[in-house]
């Protein structure tokens, strides 16, 4: 029969690895003799502390049955654990025995990511707007000024804007909601009238109208796939650019009786919450961390999270599913049940919590364990952040690990009564957030390891969010 219990299972502890002879393992676990300390005397104290911590976090119950899933998981943990317990990258450590955030190296990596690419990177041709967004956002998270890039951001997006509205990946490419979202966010992060005015809001509004579907959701492109990314990206554009919620006269969904971008949208999101409690790309698919964030982000734009999340989702079931995404003992998140930990879910799952906690009470998630994973296992030796040890850095994982770290370090509050200079009119809920302070409980980072505050709905700097919305609230017409 399958499960075996007992605190000495399984045997991937570093403590045991440090004593290669199996007889010694026996001797060690029998415990008590002085000689065990001789063997580990060369191991620094911080590493012993980490080893002790991960021994506590290791699942006690491990099934005997081996399948592809459990084998890949075991192999992966063997690769990751040395980074969590020791310091193979030889990074300088903070007072908690964890690697410092390698700010300088990461900033340099991101500067490079914004530079030129050789012909071998042709696969990026349809995804350049993403490279800009990830890199710019990550730089601001590190507290780096991006003023020097402002003009070049605008220059890059001018040819991407399609004459019929929306943005493609480059000149002559069809408009698509993914590059549109990345373009709008990048331009908003860059900020300034030149960036804002480069956006043709009227044609974008018409384009979004063409994406609205009779079932309430949004397609990504004309003739393209309909999924929950579309719903989130469309809401981000409508809100940040303060566009009318009324569907344009030429929107095909009008022929099905729809008049408003929000028509049946909440119900459509509802249908994406599946039997697992998580949220899927479209109704019927498997629950997935990235789609969960899109769904929650979309609802948090539609109204105050307390109202919209509780109206359209079974929040306790969602919380349960989100909690289970935290891998033990790794501390980072996976995106689906029985999948591997991956640094990008530091954001996709980690950033769900601010939205969920605004709807349902705070103090639900283990922030410290996530920070451990990001600092110890998700920083590449030469700069940039990664999925897991052994993988290469890229702008995507750099952006989303840092966003996850920010989610860990700050407490965000949704304040219905907030009165500010911004946040009047439609889709104004996301302008009611503020940072109530730092998260201190059990923290394992120091000042030097802090990233900047990130707006929990838009995943860009707070001030860039309000400056952009304010600009378009003050502007008459399109």
């Amino acid at each position: 029969m399958a499960a075996s219990t007992g605190p000495s299972q399984p045997s991937f502890s570093r403590l045991r690895e440090l004593t290669p002879d199996s007889d010694r393992i026996q001797e060690l676990s029998d415990a008590g003799t002085d000689s065990e300390f001789e063997d580990i005397a060369t191991v620094p104290q911080y590493e012993l502390d980490n080893i002790a911590y991960f021994d506590r976090m290791r699942p006690i119950i491990v099934d005997d049955l081996k399948t592809e899933t459990s084998e890949v998981q075991d192999e992966t943990l063997n690769v990751i654990l040395p980074f969590l317990e020791g310091n193979p990258n030889e990074f300088p450590l903070n007072e908690f025995g964890l690697p410092h955030l390698q700010r300088v190296k990461h900033a340099r990596y991101l500067d490079d990511a914004l530079g030129s690419y050789s012909e071998h990177y042709v696969a990026l041709d349809a995804a350049r707007p993403w490279v800009l967004y990830w890199s710019l956002q990550a730089l601001t998270a590190l507290g780096e000024g991006i003023g020097a890039f402002q003009t070049r951001v605008v220059n890059t997006f001018v040819p991407c804007q399609h004459p019929d509205g929306g943005y493609g990946g480059g000149h002559g490419q069809l408009p698509h909601l993914a590059p549109t979202y990345a373009a709008i966010l990048s331009l908003a992060i860059a900020g300034g009238a030149a960036a804002y005015e480069s956006i043709n809001r009227r044609s974008l509004w018409h384009y979004l109208g063409r994406m609205k579907q009779p079932d309430g959701g949004f397609t990504m492109a004309p003739g393209g796939e309909e999924d929950i990314r579309g719903a989130y990206c469309a809401m981000v554009c409508l809100s940040l650019l303060n566009l009318p919620l009324e569907l344009p006269a030429d929107a095909p969904a009008r022929s099905c009786g729809m008049t408003n971008f929000l028509d049946q949208l909440g119900d459509w999101i509802s249908r994406c919450q599946n039997w697992e409690g998580g949220i899927s790309a479209t109704p019927g698919n498997e629950a997935h961390g990235a789609y969960a964030f899109c769904g929650l982000g979309c609802l948090s734009i539609m109204g105050p999270p307390k109202e919209t999340l509780n109206r359209y989702l079974d929040v306790p079931r969602l919380i349960r599913w989100l909690s289970y995404r935290q891998c033990t003992p790794e501390g980072g998140y996976n995106g689906r049940t029985n999948k591997l930990v991956d640094g990008c879910y530091s954001h996709w799952v980690g950033s769900c919590w601010a939205l969920v906690e605004a709807a349902n009470g705070t103090g639900i998630w283990n922030r410290t364990a996530l920070a451990r994973y990001i600092l110890s296992a998700a920083q590449a030796k030469t700069g940039g952040l990664i999925d897991k040890p052994g993988k290469r850095a890229d702008a995507y994982h750099t952006c989303y690990n840092l966003a996850g770290l920010s989610a860990v370090q700050y407490n965000h509050v949704f304040d219905e009564d907030m009165k500010g200079s911004v946040g009047v009119g439609e889709l104004a809920a996301p302008y009611h957030w503020w940072v109530a302070g730092l998260y201190e409980e059990g923290k394992i980072w120091v000042e030097e390891d802090m990233v900047d505050e990130i707006h929990p709905v838009f995943i860009m700097p707070y001030d860039a969010v309000s400056a952009c919305r304010k600009y378009f609230e003050d502007k008459e017409g399109f």
């Binding site: 976090m57 030129s116 696969a123 697992e276 790309a281 498997e286 997935h288 029985n338």
Partner: protein
């Protein structure tokens, strides 16, 4: 051999549209001359709304250079439709391309467009199987399979369910298979879940739990099935207790059984027992989620106060 168009008589009537220069940019790519020229011809034919055989050749060429190019795929689909092309031929061409680029969104959407127009899913299940041989949890492949089930009315289909069981034999921890089973069994259901169906699905999941009690999937499945059937969680109380008995707190064989028991005790208004289960999870069996288990315990208190 790179392929060029400027000296090809078949293309002499087309004036290519080169990529717009817009001053200094970020993340620019130094394209090969071949890619750069092919894209310039694509921009030109798209601007002229040209749908022709040579456009199909051009899109095939660009796809071979950059399969992640959604524009080319979408325009190819439009061209196929405008030319009323033999879509079976298209699928034959598509298969090796798909097998080469597993994580590509565009290929799957393209396939969906084509199969939708063909109106027949002959061979699709076999093809999906081939893809899953390479990557048994690929999200796009599974989503596509779910689209096939919906489009071609395979809800409740016994063959589809048996196929899931085969996949499950391979790896009972593959959550994508569990999701597909749930989708096939319950996705098309209108009205109540019959007793027989409920029993069959619960037994299937319970057998899976016995193979590996710490596997999260079948426990979630049990919760999902009960919810679908509008049955209380206490329906499986005795089963859960096989794997976690509060009387024997050192012999727990599944954290998921403890979690389920906590919910069952809450359902039965036995808050002390629920708290014992949550406490075991927080302090012994699943400490990484301690905050979550403590939140659940707090929720019990507030529910009691409200009552």
């Amino acid at each position: 051999m790179p392929r060029f168009y400027h000296d090809d008589p078949a293309w002499s009537d087309v004036t290519p549209i080169p990529q717009l220069e817009s001053g200094q940019v970020l993340a620019g790519i130094s394209y090969t001359a071949e890619y750069s020229e092919a894209m310039s011809y694509l921009r030109a034919v798209m601007a002229a709304n040209e749908y022709s055989t040579r456009v199909l050749d051009l899109t095939e060429h660009i796809i071979s250079l950059n399969p992640a190019h959604y524009t080319v795929w979408l325009y190819r689909a439009q061209t196929l439709s405008a030319l009323n092309r033999n879509l079976r031929e298209e699928i034959k061409w598509l298969n090796p391309t798909a097998l080469k680029h597993l994580k590509n969104y565009q290929i799957w959407h393209h396939r969906q467009t084509i199969i939708d127009r063909l109106g027949s899913c002959d061979g699709e299940q076999e093809f999906v199987e081939q893809m899953l041989e390479k990557d048994a949890k690929n999200y796009h492949v599974w989503s596509y399979r779910q689209w096939v089930v919906r489009r071609f009315g395979l809800f409740g289909d016994e063959g589809e369910r048996k196929w899931c069981e085969g996949m499950m034999e391979r790896d009972v921890r593959n959550n994508s298979v569990w999701n597909h089973r749930f989708f096939v069994v319950f996705g098309g259901l209108k009205g109540e879940v019959e007793e027989g169906l409920l029993k069959r699905e619960l037994e299937y999941a319970q057998d899976a739990v016995r193979k590996a009690p710490q596997n999260e999937c079948p426990w979630n499945y049990i919760r999902g099935v009960l919810r679908q059937a509008k049955k209380p969680m206490s329906t499986v109380k005795e089963f859960a207790k096989e794997f976690a008995d509060l009387e024997k707190p050192d012999e727990v064989r599944s954290t998921h059984a403890l979690d389920l028991l906590a919910d069952i005790y809450e359902e039965e208004k036995k808050n002390d027992e629920a708290k014992t289960a949550l406490d075991l999870l927080a302090n012994k069996y699943d400490p990484i989620r301690a905050k979550y288990w403590e939140y659940r315990a707090r929720s019990l208190d507030s529910a009691a106060v409200e009552a």
